[in-house]
């Protein structure tokens, strides 16, 4: 609610799907939600909760593929924010995100958690952390948050993944149980596209130009004059 209020996001109509978990997925109007994981525990069951949202990767797939400068940008605090005015609606970020976070709404512009970049600019903490009554969500300098997390002796998720996530999780079970990738990485085909094909392509373009020019000045063109008509150029083998 605090997130929706601050970021002026409309409510989505949801349907009861037989679970307390509601809404069931991020939308362009929903930058963060609580994922409910029901896990059998002996005779009963236990609930695991995860705050699903953009985790602000240090090495961000969305920023790697975004073709529009400034549409996705890193704030001075290190978070990945967005500027809808500059988004050109290519949706590449949707495919490149290791956590499947960016959403597009009716406005055809990227939408995701920007950690309330405007609040942080004004010296406030993100709306979610401010509103959280149990301090499950905490906001602070990354080093201090890691130190506090280590003191709790629980498993930290995201300390070094993707050059360090801007959102760290303390987990009570394996990441996969929460639906988080164990050792998240930028999808392989996205890496090949941007870090292999793209630079090699520029090399291939200039290489081809160089090759034909080299051919022209060394071997040279197939000239017609040297093969006068009366000699008869064609022979059967």
């Amino acid at each position: 609610m605090a997130c929706k209020q601050w970021n002026r996001l409309d409510a989505d109509k949801t349907a009861n799907q037989g679970s307390y978990e509601n809404p069931r997925d991020l939308t362009s109007n929903l930058y963060n939600r609580i994922r409910f994981v029901e896990k059998a525990d002996g005779g009963g069951m236990k609930w695991l909760f995860l705050n699903e949202r953009c985790v602000h990767c240090g090495d961000a797939g969305c920023m790697k593929v975004c073709p529009s400068p400034g549409a996705l940008y890193r704030t001075k605090e290190g978070f990945v924010a967005f500027d809808k005015e500059k988004c050109i609606a290519c949706k590449y970020c949707v495919s490149a995100c290791p956590f499947n976070v960016p959403r597009y709404g009716a406005d055809e512009k990227v939408a995701k958690c920007n950690l309330c970049a405007d609040r942080i600019d004004a010296g406030m903490m993100p709306a979610c952390a401010k509103a959280c009554p149990t301090q499950t969500l905490q906001y602070g300098p990354r080093g201090a948050m890691i130190a506090r997390a280590k003191a709790s002796k629980r498993a930290i998720y995201g300390e070094a993944d993707l050059s360090g996530l801007g959102v760290l999780y303390l987990l009570d079970d394996k990441p996969e149980v929460y639906g988080l990738p164990d050792g998240p990485s930028i999808p392989a085909s996205i890496f090949l596209w941007k870090d292999v094909v793209k630079p090699l392509g520029i090399l291939g373009f200039w290489g081809s130009i160089a090759a034909v020019l080299f051919h022209y000045v060394t071997t040279g063109p197939k000239r017609l004059e040297e093969d006068a008509p009366e000699k008869g150029g064609i022979r059967h083998e």
């Binding site: 609606a89 495919s95 090949l192 596209w193 094909v197 081809s208 197939k222 009366e230 064609i234």
Partner: protein
Amino acid sequence: MSKYVERFNTPERVLHWFVTVTFFTQLLSGLGLYSRLFVGYQDFFGGGQGAILVHKIAGILFLASSLLLFLNHRREISAMDDDDRRWLSKMGGYLSREPFQENNGKFNAGQKLFGIFMGMATLVLGVTGIVIWIPLSFPRVVVQLSLLVHGLIFVLFIMVVIVHIYLATIGNPGTLDGMLWGRVTRLWARKHHGKWFREITGQEKAG
């Protein structure tokens, strides 16, 4: 007897240059999506969203026209004979200044391979392009692969086009006339495509 023979008729030439124009439109509108290095090219289309719109429209025109060009010539380029194999083993004679006695039909082996590549590459660019157009309708892994393949085939395409332009212009003087004016000299036809020249002129032997 005319000094010239017809190489490509008017509909063939118009289709070729239509494909050319749509291809370069695709190149200019797509470069900024390929890399931020080329984001300036999007200004031709009024910015990124304009470039994407043009890329989609010209993409449909390119897909349709390039496939049509391929289908029109599919029979001429789909089989290789012994002369073609000899052409390939000598790399068309392009690797040395030694005169190479070639005996090609309407298209030599290199042109056949070029035509097949263009047809296949057009199809792959078109299919992956549609996936990238409506990414939310496909599984993420399909879109990710499409982005990779679209970029990879584009790179190969542009390299092949550079060689195509070279061989059809300064690399083989007299060739461009066939695609601009439609006619080539008898000398050119006999030297480059002897088998074809004899077919269309009804001559068994050149000379």
